[in-house]
Subunit: 259 residues, 2 copies
Amino acid sequence: KMRIIAIANQKGGVGKTTTAINLAAGLAELGARVLLVDLDPQGNSSTGLGMEPERRVRTSYDLLMENADLAEVCFSTQLERLSICPANSDLSSADLELFTSEKRSFLLRDALRQTGADVPAFDLVLIDCPPSLNLLTVNALVACDSVLVPLQAEFFALEGLSQLMISIREIRQSANPELRIEGVLMTMVDNRNNLSQLVESDARDTLGDLVFRTIIPRNVRVSEAPSYSQPVLTYDPQSKGAEAYRQLAREVGTRYGFV
Amino acid sequence: KMRIIAIANQKGGVGKTTTAINLAAGLAELGARVLLVDLDPQGNSSTGLGMEPERRVRTSYDLLMENADLAEVCFSTQLERLSICPANSDLSSADLELFTSEKRSFLLRDALRQTGADVPAFDLVLIDCPPSLNLLTVNALVACDSVLVPLQAEFFALEGLSQLMISIREIRQSANPELRIEGVLMTMVDNRNNLSQLVESDARDTLGDLVFRTIIPRNVRVSEAPSYSQPVLTYDPQSKGAEAYRQLAREVGTRYGFV
Ligand SMILES: Nc1ncnc2c1ncn2[C@@H]1O[C@H](COP(=O)(O)OP(=O)(O)OP(=O)(O)O)[C@@H](O)[C@H]1O
Ligand SMILES: Nc1ncnc2c1ncn2[C@@H]1O[C@H](COP(=O)(O)OP(=O)(O)OP(=O)(O)O)[C@@H](O)[C@H]1O
Ligand SMILES: [Mg+2]
Ligand SMILES: [Mg+2]
């Protein structure tokens, strides 16, 4: 069965895109057939996987507006078994365009659950969400089986978590009863400073086992990789960042039979 | 004349809130009467200035929905001459609630331009925007005289800049002909790594004098300050972060006669 994991947090800059790209690459390395759906008008996941802006003629916007089938919006990347459904700024008007549509919250769910001969077969779909709780993120939370929440080891990031948990519970009660939390991932952790450690221990106290054992350290190689249009896993495979994301891929992959 | 400066960038986590809080505090230190309007449903500016969630009974949401006058939503902070118009998660439904209103883009502009005996007198109003180009940010771009754009010294942040500049131009042509760019502020600059320096020199090449002379270094005291509900200027006045934000306040303050 194809699993769909949304990568969401309305707090900005916490590592959603970085996690989406590198976890997708790590799972593909383990043998899974992975699709990364870029649902952010900024299109950072698309850029980070080498999809130049002029090649984004069919995008996740077309999927939502029902102008294209899933097969038409999936493109291969430089990595084996990893495909991308790209995004561009067309997505930023989706909120208003879909405002009056009855099924506006279910469009992505229906698009990803298409079956048929020409629909590509994926084992895992990851959805990179924008930094808000708008209609795009709602579509991802309705479409997915579980949510992975990147949590930057910073004060403001912790503040936003309760708001996100409320929204997840509301979606579970209204539109997606099976919605679970895949886990909360500590990102950009800097062991040299107190704040990081305080936030991490605070998160483990309140969230317990929901917090992944894997921790992603702050590592400049991670932030350099997108300018070379590749995941850190291939840009600098021996870096601390690459090792951490490989470990995360094993932790998630074990749950779905890829380890 | 009261000046209104929006602090905007749809890329998440680039330092909008941190700049709004510390520039507002710096300008108040120089003698200006400053109002900080929190227009982000996350309410981080409100938290960072000590406005606990239970005190946010009148917020920027009430201002947009025309349920309250400006005087009713301004609250004093621990800093002399600095007031806050707080935000909470009510704001996240504003987009959809205001969708059908004719004047939906002009609500904040009209609210801030109220005159009359009981309207508080401010020299400068700063608006902290959410990480998107939605109706809340559009309201800020229509209401303001100029936009200050925090630019994190990272690859993805540079990518989003052109999209923001396009939106600013669109607003100038449609709703706010006077709209200018106050400046582009380099934030979280880490001189030890190449990427930071590359992004900074790239920004200066393309944007020239629009880039502030002041640069904000990455400094852990800056990210600790919000957990003590205060700007870094009072939390650790001798820190590199505090010095940089004081320098920014002087650079902006000089333009409006506060230095
Ligand atoms: N472990 C890390 N070490 C160093 N830098 C990192 C790390 N993870 C992410 N970054 C950098 O931090 C910035 C924010 O990360 P990213 O863009 O992935 O966050 P996001 O949550 O997707 O942001 P947005 O809310 O705008 O979508 C990026 O410039 C990224 O390269
Ligand atoms: N100069 C700095 N040095 C170290 N940390 C910083 C600095 N500036 C901001 N930060 C931290 O980086 C994180 C992101 O900053 P901030 O929340 O101000 O960005 P933002 O653009 O307002 O985010 P959002 O898009 O979610 O509104 C925060 O945890 C903040 O404390
Ligand atoms: Mg992102
Ligand atoms: Mg903010």
